[in-house]
Symmetry: C2
Amino acid sequence: MKIGKLSPDLLKSSVLRFEGAKRPEVLVGALLGEDSAIIDMGDQLLAISVDPITGASAYIGRLAVHVSCNDVVSNGAEPFAIQVLLLMSVDNTVEEVEAIMKEISETAREIGVQVVGGHTEFTDKVTEPIIAIIALGKVTRNKLSTSTGAKPGDRIVISKGAGIEGTAILAEEYRDMLSELSETVLDKAARFYDMISIVPEGRIATSQGVRVMHDATEGGVIGALWEVAEASNVGFTVDRDKVPVRLETKAICDKLGIDPLRLLSSGTLIMITPEPDELLSELQKAGIDAAVIGLIEENPERRVIVCQGEEVPVTGPTTDELWRLKSPK
Amino acid sequence: MKIGKLSPDLLKSSVLRFEGAKRPEVLVGALLGEDSAIIDMGDQLLAISVDPITGASAYIGRLAVHVSCNDVVSNGAEPFAIQVLLLMSVDNTVEEVEAIMKEISETAREIGVQVVGGHTEFTDKVTEPIIAIIALGKVTRNKLSTSTGAKPGDRIVISKGAGIEGTAILAEEYRDMLSELSETVLDKAARFYDMISIVPEGRIATSQGVRVMHDATEGGVIGALWEVAEASNVGFTVDRDKVPVRLETKAICDKLGIDPLRLLSSGTLIMITPEPDELLSELQKAGIDAAVIGLIEENPERRVIVCQGEEVPVTGPTTDELWRLKSPK
């Protein structure tokens, strides 16, 4: 198999249909487009999500914390704890474990989350450290946001820009191929890691009562929108010219011939809302860039990107541009 | 580093001191000897644990479910949901994903647990499938059991026997070196996988109000007891002759020159209780073998195994016998 997550079709046929027993505590279980499970704990709901970091080497601890906490934030939940699964190769050292745990702990402290154990193991089954973080968040019933809530006519808002995480990874890992770009651009791009938490915009969006939030991870902005559209059984129109693409992202993507809208984009929050104006103004007050990039459509078959007046249909989320670049077959 | 978990000393210095922020929701966070974190969700407590399977190839799905659910059972919690992290090598196929998910789902159904999503990814960072299962259990405050509760004078009871999981793994992976043993013995040993869930004895022990439960994983019965002793700041005396060791385990361990008391033993529940008689009788009624193997001591420095009248001090949990066998340096 190619590197990356399973395609939605394969997920449906090979993973999601295996559900074990049915339990009344489970409000949202295994569903396409839902990154967290939602559990009824009586007074409160628990949002829980797990994400591994396998495709990046720098800031692996920081990334791992943000990516998982972002998932529960997308449910309108307040992340409060993480568990850490750390699989180290036998070539790694205890000092490397310590450095990763320190980074995880510092990142957790920044966003107000406690590290509550986990599992650390040295194994000959991995060639590089793999971190998976399990994020726990709590949310009351009336604040819960899931991917099934998008309605025709809703606006699609995104924060920060397309391809945030991918830009940082490319600036680091493909520096040789990007040598024509200035050092300033590449250094700035590498610092996009600092934008990967969506906790700030997630809190604002939750307080503004948006219908759906979704973190744009693999497959980028278009991949995330596809997942929301599948979960909500709707279509979408995205105006390519309105999608904010940062200068550094554009320079790097142009150079490597990849589409920023389909590039790994942790740090970009997709927000679906009938009333984007107040949301945009609140985000702006907090110093967070955001823009309306399109519209939710009633017809689930209609999923298009409008580009200079022409409609390009989106036929399904393809492999993330980052994986395409790494294994171009 | 050698294959396996970090030693307790290294854990303390390199992992457990990194705690992120402090949160009031967290009742039990990162502690030696506690396999689950305990979270206050208002009405109920949540027990959550993550365990990867990296050292076994057969029944990997079934093992993964049991090992993680066992952890939350040890807290007196009722497991109700699992999340699945599945990291497949690029040489694996979608059919292999499906077979693993099917096995996970069937095992979950057997113990009444729902599969609530997770993450499946193909990556070039692993050489074989790695499964990590996150188990969620719920428990009321008065039923909570943690490893800190052992008191001097308490009896140490174990279920089934020492080295249950390790026996099954050795019978499969070391069949060549064990060819002098009969096929019948080896086949029976390989079926020890069927004993790996401690859900049945855990429910009984919880209803009997035992003080501490602990699943004997890496480091076996002695490793688990060491963790409990550390967490409770006590010592222990174990009478080697009283530790049930099944015929198949004894035959295999003798042949390979390893100590069954320090062999991977998921499926063996350590129960610490002041009143073992009723517990033993209830376990017997349910058809579960169990025995009193020793005593909790007041002096934390006194941790000994009594063997034919002689006291052998336990100076610390060593590497699991399985890892010692695999990398004998």
